[in-house]
Subunit: 211 residues, 2 copies
DNA sequence: GTCTATACTGAGATAGAC
DNA sequence: GTCTATCTCAGTATAGAC
């Protein structure tokens, strides 16, 4: 414990666990320092603020996932020669997170919470804008007949569905029994999203107001 | 201001506006009382706590929407004789909220935030469990070939997409220009969801770990 | 029954001693 | 690098004026 950065590590690990299990807003810095057995000011020394601590937790966890995603996407694009497959793109985007979930379930729940909460848009967006642009471009090539605006909206819908699935609280689905393994969840999600992306275009605005 | 319940109303209106625009966690009771020009303790007198205030905001706004939803659903089920149409069910669920949004945009943003945040699951679930059961049953009849478990998951995905659309921050879709009118958004969403519900079943688990 | 004034506890943040 | 003390502001609780 003679400052090998052990303090910083313990703070990061504890924060990831507590934020993931109970949510960012629900966990106080004082709860973290109690479990990590460090001093309150140590958090502000190492990270600056509660929000910056969250930022570093996200950065640490998401970096290897996004690297793996890019790696797989580039391999697939090379294979298919600029005409990637929709189902494959979705699988490539989701599976690295599923693998992460098997080792760090709390981190993945945290990511789901953050994606959903409009509260921390900056933090998430910062770590995802590169990946988002890359996958958006791939989706555009996989769906050449879809108008860019419609594609953008469908990506938006996808983000919501992914976020909901990652935090994994089946609010409106009381039928669901045990928490299904993450890979299975994401296979189901992948099929759903593919159907959504391939759906026929919405009808233009109806005249009648009444349903 | 001679206590015709004007205080309670002003608190509700101001809370709805501020919670919707900035989020529940981001707004303090002291910000609400400043804009509503009431005393701090008046909130606790009328509502009990910050969370109970939120609950009443949600209840007030969601009641007419859900009543309209049930009314439309029952009419449709009567017309079609127990074999409702998927697209129609989605439209019936979404359009009353779109109508609400044209008059109370802040309320609808708030609903989106709350549905997304796992933080307040109790509040949302309380006001939606009746509606959810009703629409789940309708969806099951519209999609008789879908296994109940798969249907439950797809509803779960739908909730995420709806929540994302209602709070309306297009995090991963910077292509989107001006904030589109709510009815248009929901028509696009409706088409996307219908495609998702009709998607072919996901493949059973693959053996290979490697992608 | 309605509202006001005020105090209490716990949150995140900061300064400075060691 | 670490820890103590302290600051400000949050939500909450209570006593009492009208």
């Amino acid at each position: 414990m003679i400052h090998h950065g052990a303090t910083k590590q313990r703070i990061l690990d504890t924060a990831e666990r507590l934020f993931g299990q109970y949510g960012y807003a629900a966990i106080s810095l004082r709860q973290i320092i109690a479990e990590a057995e460090v001093n309150l000011a140590a958090i502000h020394y190492h990270f600056g603020s509660k929000e910056d601590l969250l930022d570093e937790v996200v950065l640490r966890g998401v970096t290897p996932v996004n690297e793996r995603r890019l790696e797989l996407l580039e391999a697939h694009e090379a294979e298919t020669g600029g005409r990637p497959d929709l189902d494959k793109i979705l699988e490539i985007f989701l599976m690295p997170m599923a693998d992460k979930a098997s080792r760090h379930p709390d981190f993945v729940r945290l990511m789901g919470r953050l994606m959903a909460e409009g509260l921390l848009p900056t933090i998430i967006q910062k770590h995802f804008q590169g990946i988002a642009a890359r996958f958006s471009a791939a989706l555009a090539r996989a769906l050449p007949d879809l108008a860019p605006e419609e594609l953008a909206w469908r990506i938006h819908f996808m983000v919501g569905a992914i976020a909901q699935t990652m935090c994994g609280t089946p609010a409106f689905a009381p039928i669901l029994g045990e928490p299904a393994p993450f890979h299975e969840r994401l296979r189901r999600l992948s099929a759903f999203l593919a159907g959504g992306f391939r759906a026929p275009l919405p009808q233009p605005e109806k005249i009648e107001v009444q349903l």
